[in-house]
Symmetry: C2
């Protein structure tokens, strides 16, 4: 398969229309059946594949940055009698396990982003089901704050995955039915075993939808409810829209980073983010560069910089890189995270955003976007190792990269000037590295579990958490950072190269599946939320079911679907 | 494989010694290497299989009922230099997927039971690691409140599953390391990738153990710490020990229940619990019979009845039945739950226990045992369908069976006297069924998520919860029970047989794996706890890893272990 590209724009959409009318936007799903990302299937009945969801993700992002006036988004279908039939079954049946799982992860993240817009950004989503919403189609509706269903005696909502395909709804449906919509668990059980779905008053009575609306009043009621949402949604005031200009991205084979040049297969680079990929060893070295100047004195300066404003630019680049590597480089199992630049400039950009978080929509949108991008890292099935070296700027928002890592190494002292690994002995790398806790580490960027990365790190150890918080604002050398538990190990120049090399090589020698499971458990200490349940409990069960013979074996339900043959099950319960 | 038997007693133990010395008991693991449950492996180095864990479970139960004077339990090893090497690897490698998963589930439940004893029963467990504790051995220690490790320059604790076997620690290790012992996640990551383990001061500094003790002072310090635990543990006062006399259990082919006789393969019966198994259709019909008399006027009467006291007898029988069916009948995927008897007698037994829960150790032990048995039902990978018929006694503690079910049917009215399905038209079945909410439904029997089954059922719907609570004490007919959301459906005699038959047959037609995943998600709405994370997140990932080629394929790590061959991994991350 060719490389999947996540960059797109409304002018390129094949499957969605975005119409804005004052405070109400309408996002219309009208999937081009011939527009599949990969040949071999038709996207009938508004079913979707990754390509359809990439456009949805783009639209959701643009609604936040390019449409500050929009307070309500109506999600509806351009087809007659069908809202959305969910993920395309033939696409799923033809896809490998890793593809399916990665696809579900991305669709989950987009749906969580819709909920984030509703909850934190004053942009409420309303699902206007003008036809049947089944499987992933209903799960998309579940991500919206309000669900209206047309009452035409045939349109229903359904989760037919279990009875028809022998798998689970894969994008949060089971969790949201009980934990968000509070459908009683026994009714939810019945619902998820009835392929034909539920509509009309019963759908309202069971809380599967909020309202059913007769066909004759459909347009009018949807418009009315959308206006109502827009009136109560609280979007912050602020300056003009920010255009999300095309991301500059190059892929080349030249590279002069810390990995020896002959190990690098290629480099992906953006203005502030780059990744050197060593495909043989399965390692990507990702470097995030700090701002080249101080932050503007006020948000007015940020508006003037637009999409080039450093925090926004970095979030976009990192977001695209994570998606690119996750989707296109499944064999690259370890990501080494580095930063380069001036910590004080990172912190003053952080400060500008935090000072305006409660009053300016753009400041808030950027912080929320950084939050979502870091969450993407948390659920990425790659080992994350942060390297804190002289010349780095792990401070505030960028310190989160080290806190998101499974493990971190911080150099004690500097690289010796005659160290052959050290190309730049006279520059900023002549000063020992420091990490700095800042206000961005103390609240605005929570993980999916609702806690900050610091609070998760020090779960059950309030003294350690308080000590780390108290150190906020001070650049901390390796000894202090290790003592405070902000980094894992602090070797000196003599041990550095060996320790780091061994950590990376060792990681590549372990079972990739076991690492995925280990990381998915360790990264989410403490409380679970709907979001972590979706990525943890639900996804893990789905992954297991996907690779069992009852689903994907020769007689499995996924293979049997549509053939007229009945699936053959091994009836033993596990 | 022959049927696994869960009933045992100290006189039959091959692997454990139980010594009681006043308030301190010592449970010594000394596994008979030749005593495996199944031929084909040797239980070297105190490694264990299901047979070893069945004895441990029995000992833990007897400590609670037969040793009311014991306030501290020292868990240690009878071997030199080794505490426990965890689950036997050759046993795991030779076992099928379903066996491995069921084995892990039972060991998890026993470890949760140890924590329940420490937390709720005033019996604190202290792990005295007189040698290395690796894998499941260390996980057993993690279930204890305090971990002492001998400091002999060789003994360590370790979780070598990932580096050596390409799987995860399967009995809660990953969850307890971070969420219980509060080991920092990056240190936990390092620990779980180091096959050689960690001992000495570093093990204390990282919180992996509480204390390391020099060999010369070992006996003395262990005894001192155990005395300390016993002094602070708060066990309730009460009457004499209750002997857990051998359970009476028969297996026969005769049966006269509601399933047609020719459908029944065999019947398992105890004095108060029976199960008619239809192996062809994959259904077991489980009937729990209420007390044959009112409860004694005080706990003195309960002490006099001993193990025959109805609530204790029922808990023991149901516990054994669940374990038996889970382990020996994996193809029986649907359990139909019924009760028979007098609801008021159930409620007066409940009342006696609740009135004495805070003052009498036996009352508390029985309630806690009922709680654990119901939790076993919650994590059982079988579809549970409750049938509420005339003559049943779904009240209080027995109503929990219906609330634990995935779905429930309650007959509206009675069976017509001329109904051929109705063998007993003139008896108690001539009166319509009722269900009764009682005090046992309102707190003492929480699920693993920390909520009552009622609160989980009505999560996010405080009005419905309040209405159900307000109805406590009233026998509720089908109409009221359905309106209050206590049962799922309330068909009348005309529809009953068809609806119930269809529900059961439909269940048997679905993918057993997808049902397991569905149920594991729906049953645990609301908050997650360490316990639900172990059964949900951790177990699901482990199950996935177990059945991936990287673990169990021809070149997988589980197969390669011990052969000197390196495992061959597909390096793609999923």
């Amino acid at each position: 398969m060719s490389q999947v590209e996540f960059r797109t724009s409304p002018a390129q959409y094949r499957h969605w229309r975005l119409d804005v009318d004052g405070p109400v936007a309408t996002l219309t799903m009208d999937v081009d059946a011939q527009g599949g990302l990969v040949p071999g299937y038709e996207l009938k009945l508004n079913s979707y594949d990754l390509g359809v969801d990439i456009e949805l993700y783009d639209a959701v992002q643009r609604l936040r940055f390019e449409h500050p006036e929009v307070k309500a988004v109506v999600l509806t279908s351009g087809k007659e009698k069908v809202f959305c039939a969910g993920a395309n079954i033939r696409m799923l049946a033809a896809s490998g396990h890793a593809w399916k799982v990665n696809f579900c992860k991305f669709t989950n993240e987009t749906r969580n982003g819709i909920e984030d817009a509703t909850e934190n950004s004053g942009q409420a989503y309303l699902a206007a089901l003008n036809g049947t919403a089944s499987g992933g189609g209903y799960e998309l509706a579940l991500a919206c704050d309000t669900i209206l269903l047309i009452d035409d005696r045939s349109s229903v909502v359904s989760l037919p995955e279990l009875p028809l395909l022998g798998v689970l709804p894969g994008t949060g449906g089971l969790t949201r039915v009980t934990d968000k919509r509070h459908v009683r668990r026994d009714l939810a059980d019945y619902f998820a075993t009835k392929a034909e779905g539920i509509g009309g008053k019963k759908a309202v009575g069971w809380r599967l939808v909020d309202e059913v609306v007769p066909r004759v009043r459909w347009q009018e009621v949807v418009a009315e409810r959308a206006r109502g949402c827009a009136e109560t949604a609280r979007r912050l005031p602020g300056g003009p829209a920010i255009e999300l200009t095309p991301l500059r991205k190059t892929v080349s084979t030249a590279w002069a980073g810390a990995l020896a040049a002959d190990q690098v297969t290629w480099e992906i680079s953006y203005p502030h983010v780059s990744a050197a990929v060593d495909a043989d060893r399965g390692v990507a070295e990702i470097t995030v560069t700090g701002p080249s100047a101080d932050a503007p004195a006020s948000m007015a300066g940020a508006y003037a910089q637009g999409a080039a404003f450093w925090p926004l630019a970095v979030a976009r680049e990192l977001d695209d890189l994570i998606l690119d590597l996750r989707t296109n480089q499944p064999g690259v199992g370890t990501w080494v995270l580095k930063t380069a630049g001036d910590a004080s400039r990172v912190l003053c950009h952080d400060q500008l955003l935090i000072a305006n978080y409660d009053s300016d929509w753009l400041a808030r949108e950027i912080v929320l976007y950084v939050k979502r991008t870091l969450k993407r890292l948390d659920v990425t099935s790659r080992s994350l190792i942060a390297l804190v070296e002289p010349g780095s700027c792990f401070a505030g928002s960028l310190l989160e990269l080290a806190l998101a890592a499974d493990r971190s190494y911080m150099l004690f002292g500097v690289f010796e000037p005659d160290d052959p690994d050290e190309p730049d002995a006279g520059g900023p790398r002549a000063t020992p590295a420091a990490v700095t806790v800042g206000p961005m580490n103390l609240g605005p960027l929570p993980m999916g579990n609702g806690l900050t990365r610091l609070a998760t790190r020090f779960i059950g150890d309030p003294d350690a958490l308080a000590a780390a918080q108290k150190a906020a604002g001070e650049p901390l050398g390796a000894e202090d950072a290790e003592r405070l538990g902000l980094v894992t190990f602090a070797p000196d120049d003599i041990d550095w190269a060996d320790e780091v090399r061994m950590a990376v090589e060792e990681r590549a020698s372990f079972s990739p599946d076991a690492l995925t499971g280990l990381e998915a458990n360790y990264r989410f200490a403490g409380p679970e939320t709907m979001e972590t349940k979706i990525f943890g409990r639900l996804t893990a069960w789905q992954n297991w079911i996907f690779c069992r013979p009852n689903a994907s074996g020769p007689d499995g339900a996924l293979r049997a679907y549509g053939t007229g043959k009945r699936a053959g099950f091994d009836r033993k319960r596990v």
